[in-house]
Symmetry: C2
Subunit: 193 residues, 2 copies
């Protein structure tokens, strides 16, 4: 399975109205803090690898009070290897949930890995026409909309076309696609509008 | 809190009878596989650090069949830093449960860490006089008994005395204490009797 994803800058207010009009289904809303690490023995920018700890909290549960809120915070560690094949953008990836994000950070710190940057964002997920539409508000960068789906090897082009059509339906211009990751934009100093 | 631990080689059959006679309470029985990693950028033998993935399975659940068994397998990652203070044997330690032990191994493999050795053992835990008595059958090494407890800073010597008294009650000789870890014994080629 491949992930097809198209991302553009977009003001959320207009997109929310368009999602509503199109009958999109709201899924959930979360806060994510992704900390990316530098390695002590390799330059990840050169090797095109990434080590990340993602902490996520369900926004809907904010009202539930202190203890519940903490229990709903989840953390994951993810390693992404170099691109294996440029065309499909496939890469080795290993990911697991961890019970204690702070302890996981302690493990990597102890081993000599250092936090390089943290990307913080609020994400609201919607379902529309078999696609996931994500409204991201990224600290320091601004508002974005991502349209994505998973597909088989031989349907990538069709899935990409479909994602562009969804953007078009939401009043957005697929030609304004941004291919740089949020981490890349932050490191490039590409501030929000 | 400090962990006080005394370990000796001992044939389990006699110890089980002694535990029974002393009224010890059986707690649980598990299988553990501990994989220790070499780092790509440091010699852990020199720096006195350790990186470990522990996979544990409840032995009692063996009868429950395939699916349940898998669900009861748990995994943890642990980093142990160098000794901070020789006297108390205190060191920096970070540990968290992970949902997927294979994925955690994939993360470390991807980062260039390599499995150095795996210690496999069956452990049966008992409670006796405020101490945990553990009967370990270690693959390639043989049978051991550990007596341990946690204690405050200023009670370490009393706790150690108590642990030796428990060994004595079980018909074992505290003077035969082994201070080398199972990993150390395995790497030393110290085969079981």
């Amino acid at each position: 399975m491949y992930e097809v994803e198209v991302k553009v800058r977009a003001d959320h207010e207009a997109v929310e109205a368009a999602l509503d009009a199109a009958g999109a289904e709201f899924v959930d809303s979360v806060v994510q803090a992704d900390t990316y690490y530098d390695a002590p023995h390799r330059d990840f920018a050169e090797t095109d690898e990434a080590l990340r700890i993602r902490r996520e909290r369900d926004l809907e549960s904010d009202d539930a009070g202190g203890e519940d809120e903490t229990e709903r915070e989840t953390a994951k560690i993810t390693y992404k290897g170099p691109l294996l094949e440029a065309e499909s953008k496939s890469r080795e990836e290993h990911e697991t949930a961890v019970a204690d994000g702070e302890a996981a950070a302690g493990v990597f710190d102890g081993l000599g890995f250092e936090p390089a940057a943290t990307v913080r964002k609020e994400r609201a997920h919607y379902r529309l026409d078999g696609y996931t539409v994500t409204l991201d508000s990224v600290d320091g960068l601004g508002e974005f909309v991502e349209v994505e789906t998973e597909t088989e090897d031989d349907d990538i082009e069709a899935a990409r076309e479909g994602a562009r059509a969804v953007l078009d339906d939401l009043g957005l211009d697929p030609a304004e696609q941004i291919r740089t990751s949020y981490l890349g934009l932050l490191l490039d100093g590409d501030a929000g509008e």
